[in-house]
Symmetry: none
Subunit: 373 residues, 2 copies
């Protein structure tokens, strides 16, 4: 579990579907003493989740849940949500499916006015390559975004209950209307998934010798191409409009790219406009990836980066971060360029701009070599 404080969620939570997400949520809540009721169509999946300490299977004597979390596959989430709204007339009901507008529409159509106010969809942006309860982890959501997708007629109290659930599992609530959410995940999840699949599909008939040249770049681009086809077909159908729209924009860029390459193939580097068009494509990619928060996308632009040379010896990193801790500046993001065999590595410390000058000066005073970005 992530939270040190007492959980915001009190009353019983019913988790429907003990797969990776459902069991991870249940594990984290149960670990904080929240009574969790488990339900799954598969008795063996249910037993596994219980044996992992995720809660108790729901039974006739189970108290009415305060919150119901529907963690079924996305294509059945809508009907299950409607069923739960009917079965538990006092409960707040949410789901964790990766598309939200379709389910919101099913609820708007299938639930009466009173019930509609008790539904608030959500989407935890967390997952793993392995699926099922066996891969569940109470820390799965720690520090991850968790979309709270309230329709216009949802009650503030219901939205608050789902937000509390997200906070209890250590996630970051991100309020987004259902359609905003679907447009967003088309860009940051569904289109990247399809691009990975399309690139990987080119390898089906590739010569062995070509595959033997595979590097980290290909592995990174195609890693998620290993995803479950049935699950993804359901996700894509559920978000077909926004995904198709994004892919049309991508295809327009692709057409221009192929055209430039054709001209370069015949006329070489001096083909008018070819070099310009090709660098423009990669350059636009630079700009786009630069906007991705954290990790490989680099720190968000709002941070300043201080680069420190770190002698290539064990313990030096510990000394650096120990002293950064003493200085009392919080590191927002960091990256180490560790050149094994070189005499130094370079630690890139991202801090709020206001703190950069102090950190730079303090580190220099303590004998560290700070280099320009």
């Amino acid at each position: 579990m992530t939270s040190q404080a007492a959980p915001l969620t009190t009353g019983p939570v019913k988790v429907v579907g003990t797969g990776l997400l459902g069991t991870s949520i249940a594990l984290c809540l149960a670990g904080q003493g929240v009574p969790v009721q488990l339900s799954d169509a598969s008795p063996s999946a249910l037993a596994l989740a219980r044996d992992m300490g995720a809660g108790e299977p729901v039974h006739d004597a189970s108290p009415e849940p305060a919150v119901v979390v529907v963690a079924t596959p996305p294509d059945v989430a809508g009907p299950v949500v409607l069923d739960m709204l009917r079965r538990h007339p006092a409960a707040v009901v949410t789901d964790v499916a990766s598309v939200k507008a379709v389910i919101a529409a099913e609820v708007a159509e299938g639930a009466d006015d009173g019930a509609r106010t008790r539904y608030v969809g959500s989407h935890p942006m967390a997952g793993r390559e392995r699926s099922g309860a066996i891969a569940a982890d109470a820390d799965l959501f720690a520090g991850r975004p968790w979309v709270i997708s309230a329709a216009d007629d949802a009650s503030p109290a219901a939205a608050g209950a789902v937000r509390a659930l997200a906070l209890d599992v250590g996630a970051l609530p991100v309020p987004l209307a259902p359609q905003e959410h679907d447009d967003a995940v088309a860009l940051v999840s569904h289109i990247p998934q399809l691009a990975a699949s399309l690139v990987a599909a080119r390898l089906v008939d590739a010569p062995e010798a070509a595959l033997s040249l595979a590097g980290q770049g290909l592995r990174d681009v195609t890693r998620i191409a290993a995803s479950d086809p049935r699950l993804w077909a359901a996700i894509l159908v559920g978000n077909a409009g926004p995904v198709a729209a994004g892919l049309r924009e991508l295809r327009a860029d692709l057409d221009a790219l192929i055209d430039s390459l054709d001209r370069a193939a015949t006329a070489g580097p001096l083909a008018p406009g070819a070099m310009g068009a090709l660098s423009a494509v990669v350059s636009a990619g630079n700009t786009g990836v630069g906007r991705v928060p954290g990790k490989h996308g680099g720190a968000p632009r709002r941070y300043a980066t201080v680069q420190v040379l770190v002698p290539d010896e064990p313990g030096e990193l510990g000394r650096l971060f120990g002293e950064v801790g003493e200085i009392g500046v919080n590191i927002e993001d960091l990256l180490l360029e560790h050149s094994a065999g070189a005499r130094v590595g370079i630690a890139h410390l991202s801090v709020v701009p206001a703190a950069a000058a102090e950190l730079e000066q303090e580190l220099t005073t303590r004998g560290w070599r700070v280099v320009a970005e």
Copy 2:
């Protein structure tokens, strides 16, 4: 340095171009006691490489090199190779440009019969999104394929010398004729690069809220989109034919995909053939990524990663790295995933695989929460 045994390369090695690849090769060879002569048009780039321990700048009294490695940008590699063949009449000359047929043609046309036998192109399948000597790493080539691309008239001795160089930096030599090489890298490198750029380009105008949902999948797919536009434009122009051919096949799949999504958007999951076509795309991706050497397309990585939850308080990072220092495990690379507003960040510690289990256990014993990768 990578190799434990004495290097196969003995005589002086001249490295022309102290960028990422040139400096990494130089660092690794110098680390094994091979005399390395550095040359670069930019005095500051040259000085940086020397300061990193990559070798000494070439000067009038430098002995004749046994091997010359041309590590300039690909669009000037051909002329520089020809110049080196003339200047060093006894040396074996290779280049590390990522296209081979164009350069082979330039050498065949520009060098006399004797000189031609001393040229053997090569292509180390290694790199990173950051460029320049500052990003150099003596282990950059460890376990990576290194294409040895000998034209028909190259001498076996020259091919052997380039093969020895590849082995000395820990790479795996892969013999491929120039055109075979170019067709292969279109599939495993150039098309993935462009796909990453096209996906990242979609993010240029994305709302902040959408970007805040970015997960590891997007980060992996777009990581290489941070590559240098000028360098890539030159690479792509040099391999325009094979890349355009591969992109046409990709576009055909993309068109079918958009068509299926359009039908699903109007008729829903029951749109005839839509689910089937969408799963087929993802399924073909499964097959393709399954052919990439290494588990689920995941690298035989140089390092294992241990993920540790770090409370978002000043000093906690210092405490973590202090204790990592006490444990005595050297951190090869690290990244901090820090979502603003989260109570925790996630530190990704890269260590040699043999040390991962110990580090994970020691950290857990000390009360840190370690998340499975």
